[in-house]
Subunit: 324 residues, 4 copies
């Protein structure tokens, strides 16, 4: 089957597209799309409803909202606020659905995952840096000190990565959750996409948290309701593509081109006699093993991370700002 | 009594000196000194043995080892290694005494306290950055992977400060301790001294951990065996002096000078008729309230923090390097 | 005379106040004040018109605009924009006056002075980080690429400090000016004030550039039209007070109090018999020499620098944004 | 000809290898190799002696010393010092040859090129951070203050990148050179290699400086004796590979495999009938245009940059330390 040797993606959207391109309808998976033409913002909602759907998609049951816009990293204040507003709506929806209440008077822990010292992996720390943290103020002075219609206890943690701490992010965040008892965790992370087209223009918000294998840093245990004991909303932005993926993709295009090429008809005929698995094996040998641990990222990733990090923080600040 | 209106210091050494200058012997407090003339390293050991001593000193029962050297921040490799070696000996002593075993095969969590964004408060994070973290490697590959006589599971956490996280450092570290069960916590922090003379030339190592009020950031709850459930060794370096302290000190000198001045004999006579508390009240009014939240620090604090942070990390790496 | 032993300040405003408090009118110095009550923004304009005035003030002939507001570091978007707008007006005025033309189609080099690694000295680099730099775009694609009514060639340099580069900031900036020929240099720097009250609530904009002795880092040669060959507008924010200044000030208050004290009348009588210089000498001996190279700064200086740096950059971006 | 459509490399070594693989001897290019088996350090010396050789290699006449070792980023103190010693020898050789004198009493400006905010491009700034800068000390206190057999005036500049400054690095460095008149410039930069195998294990030292197109940041004008007016020694470490290069290489391997494959003999026969240029065109269409501006880099690039940056700085400090 095709999926056996497919390269991993953190985006439900990309997972779904693999099937869509095969014109397969997947049982237990509902897809909805919305396009804001004026602002060029596309929102895709993938709901995995059943365990069958989860198996087919290789992702847990839950809701995956994806916002796509070419302007995600545009350094323009109005665009930035428009996108933040859209994102805050999506985050509110998932909060209400998963906590059984609205976002008012919730206590929330935001976990900024990733490695601050590696630019494309620094999105989570960057969001944490721009967050309005309030828990300590409300605990010290009471909620009326904030002069707002409602208040949220917002706290934030940047757990770092295993090479720096010797611990998994999950261990650190679980410890903090057990100690401070938030109602909800929001985990922000830089993701790996399958295609460079997605980089720095896509935000995925999922009520399934961050799952093993997600993220640039490849966490081994996930941040999910199961591991943390409270609902976890994962917010991810693809900032890298695995180097092997890119080579693999180009090879697949190449083989497809060979198979259909008029000028190289003879090549196509030969390749057609091989099944997909054989072709994959053949290609894999050519993908140099030194690509392990390598990723592809844009040269201006620093400006992108800074701009997108600020927009995600703005969206979270809108949700928790106490403005009804 | 003098101590009623004394300004706080995080250094047991300075606390002790206040009494020494009054030629008072304090019951329940044992003081020992050692001076390495060649290397200009002075080691002072203050042991607070009884609750009486603790009350007198305003610090909990325990051992406070202080290393003083003018070369602490000297950018010289040999000096750096000599100091690290001395410090590693002191750390080993306190570990053995407090865990009832030696430092071999211990699991230890190093907490780098303080604010990475404020230079004189960034010592703890700086030490964590230079630490050899091993827990994840040993857990993945076993202790024999390290090819050492013995191994320690070393992990590290930089909890940040309340304004960034909304949580007390203690809450975060306690959560991580409960989750990962180290045998011991080593907490590194930048301290406030009473005198500028101490800045960046003094290291205090105490088996009482970090107590409320210690540190540049003024933690409200301490990192101690009581709050964390495991022994805590606190390592502190004074990098700032409270601005009010400096003014206060100078005033005290000034009053003393007035009292003994030949040329200002009249002034002295008047002042002598007041008791210390009255004089303190008089001085306090003159110390502007805008000094609250202000501290004094050297202009080249960045180089000092970098150098001292590297030396402390070296000392810890020596202790836990698996070289018997 | 009083000024002989006064402690240095980078603020013309503070210099002027010393005289004002003595009810002296200074020849060749014109003072104007404006107060925006609603927004609590006070603007003071000190114009030093003559060499006599310059001698009296200890500052070169020129215009010194000072904006003071308690909200300078307030993390509120509307306040931030209001202040940036006021500042941009002041900057425009000085540009027009000094270049003989308006700010349109100028080429300008912004120099972010100071040490990025020492928080209170990092204001200049922080402003440079948030600046809209355009020179390379306009040179590559032409001014019509910007789709603005007018365009400015904006470039930026962060020269670092002598301990990092081995060179004076002036040498680096002069080299860059000689190479790239901007019409104007804007130099941004963290300043030393005389009083803690000024810290992080005052911006001084002067058409005399940055003069020797200004700045936290104590540049030895200034950035002025004389040293750079083009007009230099200096923008400074006091972020530190020299530690010796604070002690000195408190002593002066103390002596004043002693002199007027009912309860310490005798003291006052004695002190009154000394002239100011004698009193200063007496005090100086008590100000410990270890205060050399020490400064006083607020604990939350990181948040202040970040907020103010963003506001100054916003003001500069407004001036050079090409919106008429 | 093959080279017409070859992908660019900053390494003379890689350029030479392309020919070597074709078993061509290149006129005007001399190749020497040395292998230190015990330390696994390979040194290759490519000397381009004539303009003919320069044309063939696509690089200017000069000497290119390349050190290769798998241990370049190994966090081991002894290895680090061994490599630094070898490098310092190579740097000394090129200095003597290009300045006509030895490295004693030279004044040298080290330019740390690249973008501090993008991890794989931050090597140059990282080296500058660890350099012993002496120019300001010697100018202030004289050369005898250093208590060394000889002294060098070492200064350092981190010019930043065009997106931050609006200026080319060359403009900034040239301005500083014209102002401070060093005898020599040493420019350190992160390079792009053709093969992932080279990443973080190769150092190239060349007396031709940094040429247009070198470096991760793709400088448009070079730092050479011609542009700066003094000899320039370029030190580069490949930290990225252009994403298109990797795809291209794999395609070439793939085509080669197809041509020689037994099992896919038919394919090979067809492809053999195309000339290299046709094959390249065919492949290029498949290399997605979205790979423009993308690069490949290892996940742990932060640790590698930190370690290698420290080693390069050590090598430079050895050369200029005043130890004969």
């Amino acid at each position: 089957m095709v999926r056996n040797y497919s390269v991993r993606t953190d985006l439900a959207l990309e997972e779904r597209e693999r099937f869509a391109s095969d014109n397969v309808e997947i049982q237990g998976v509902v897809l909805e799309e919305d396009y804001d033409e004026e602002r060029e913002i596309r929102t895709t909602r993938v709901e995995i409803c059943t365990e069958n759907g989860a198996r087919a998609m290789g992702k847990p049951v839950g809701i995956y909202l994806t916002l796509e816009t070419p302007d995600l990293a545009l350094p323009d204040e109005e665009t930035h606020l428009n996108i933040a507003r859209k994102l805050s709506g999506h985050i509110r929806e998932l909060i209400r659905r998963n906590t059984g209440r609205n976002e008012k008077d919730l206590s929330v822990l935001v976990a900024g995952l990733g490695n601050r010292s590696v630019t494309p992996d620094s999105l989570g720390p960057c969001v944490a840096d721009h967050l309005n943290v309030t828990r300590h103020i409300i605990r010290e002075y009471g909620k009326y000190a904030m002069d707002k219609e409602y208040v949220n206890l917002v706290s934030a943690i940047v757990p770092g990565v295993m090479g720096q701490t010797g611990m998994e992010s999950t261990e650190i965040v679980r410890g903090v959750v057990d100690e401070t008892h938030p109602d909800l965790v929001i985990a922000v992370d830089a993701l790996a996409a399958r295609s460079c087209r997605r980089l720095n223009r896509t935000v995925q918000i999922a009520d399934t948290g961050i799952n093993p294998g997600s993220g640039v840093g490849n966490h081994r245990s996930g941040l999910t309701e199961k591991t943390l004991g409270v609902p976890v909303i994962g917010i991810g932005v693809p900032t890298v593509v695995d180097a092997a993926t890119i080579v693999n993709d180009t090879m697949e295009n190449f083989i497809a081109a060979l198979e259909s090429s008029e000028s190289l008809k003879g090549v196509g005929d030969v390749l057609k006699s091989y099944n997909p698995a054989e072709k994959y094996e053949f290609v894999k040998e050519l993908v140099a093993p030194h690509l392990n641990g390598m990723y592809v990222t844009p040269k201006d990733v620093d400006e992108m991370i800074r701009q997108i990090g600020r927009t995600l923080a703005e969206a979270l600040n809108m949700v928790f700002a106490g403005v009804a």
